[in-house]
Subunit: 180 residues, 2 copies
Amino acid sequence: MALAHAIMTALIEDDLSGYELARDFETSLGFFWQASHQQIYQELRKLAERGWLNKREVNQRGKPNKIVYGLTQPGREALARWVYSSTRSRPAKDELLVKLYNLDADNAAHIAGEVTARREEMMRRLYLYEKIRRRHYGSPQTLPTRRKGVYLALVAGIRQGEQFLAWCDEALELLGSIDA
Amino acid sequence: MALAHAIMTALIEDDLSGYELARDFETSLGFFWQASHQQIYQELRKLAERGWLNKREVNQRGKPNKIVYGLTQPGREALARWVYSSTRSRPAKDELLVKLYNLDADNAAHIAGEVTARREEMMRRLYLYEKIRRRHYGSPQTLPTRRKGVYLALVAGIRQGEQFLAWCDEALELLGSIDA
DNA sequence: GCTTGCTATGCAAATGATTGCATATTATCG
DNA sequence: CGATAATATGCAATCATTTGCATAGCAAGC
């Protein structure tokens, strides 16, 4: 039930609608836990039924109405308990690495192309991360406690991304040396 | 259908039984694509029905008989085609990073404990990786093409692991500075 | 007025993955 | 002989996730 807790985590400081949550899950928290809007809407309904979230409809001008969800006290308590539960880490499943096991002279160029594409995607992501870090997490020591945690997650993403770029370069070099 | 292709990939050089595959998936290829034995047995049956794998029962001494699967020619062709298909990267879902968003003075010690546990787990994994690298991938330039790909996947695992260790240290330092 | 695009929510079906069983063979140790 | 552990395969139920579709409000531009 980790998606439920990821959603509740996203609602710690702000009440959000399903649409807004889905957008946030494309950045920010979504870097560590991705979910589609279908999943999110469904989970929101379940969480509201369980009493962990409350919902209210908000009329908007120039846009369709939205349903905004917020953490209830039982929700906050459940979330706090969850932090102490045992974590199972679901490691990344990466088709690209599996494809590398199938490397041969024919497909080397194609695989190099995929590595290049992933490298560029990661560059864009890192750019975003760095922007957030500079803007909000300049001096981590002085942050309030919870923000220190968010900072650490962000740093994990940045470090991982930088490492990935370096790996891409190494991979492209070796792949480039394969005769077609 | 990536599990299917991961399994076929594992069968490129050797014919294996479901049990052996499940064991290999705990190391090696399994670092980039995990699967339980239930999933593997089911997928093997489907792949055999589709004609991408053949199966034969092997009598053993001192052990129960096993069913060994091997790639058929159509299977090899399907696998080769798959390499050219578009890759969707399913990024890691990490509960620990979500938990960090919930950091407070009360749970900081618990979270630090989880980081420490993960650090030790990664140390063990890296030890394994390095052993494999030293034994089989000492001079990557001279490897046959396919092994170069496997080497790159291994290096990705090693680099990622080393980065994770560094992050754990940074995290533990910051977490340690939080007053309970 | 029509199309396009963003905002906003949702259902239904299929696939993928986990969890909890169930069973059987053989070796080893006490 | 009985217990334990490793080998070996599988079913059934549930949960998680993806895919494809459906609908609708409102704005902006043509």
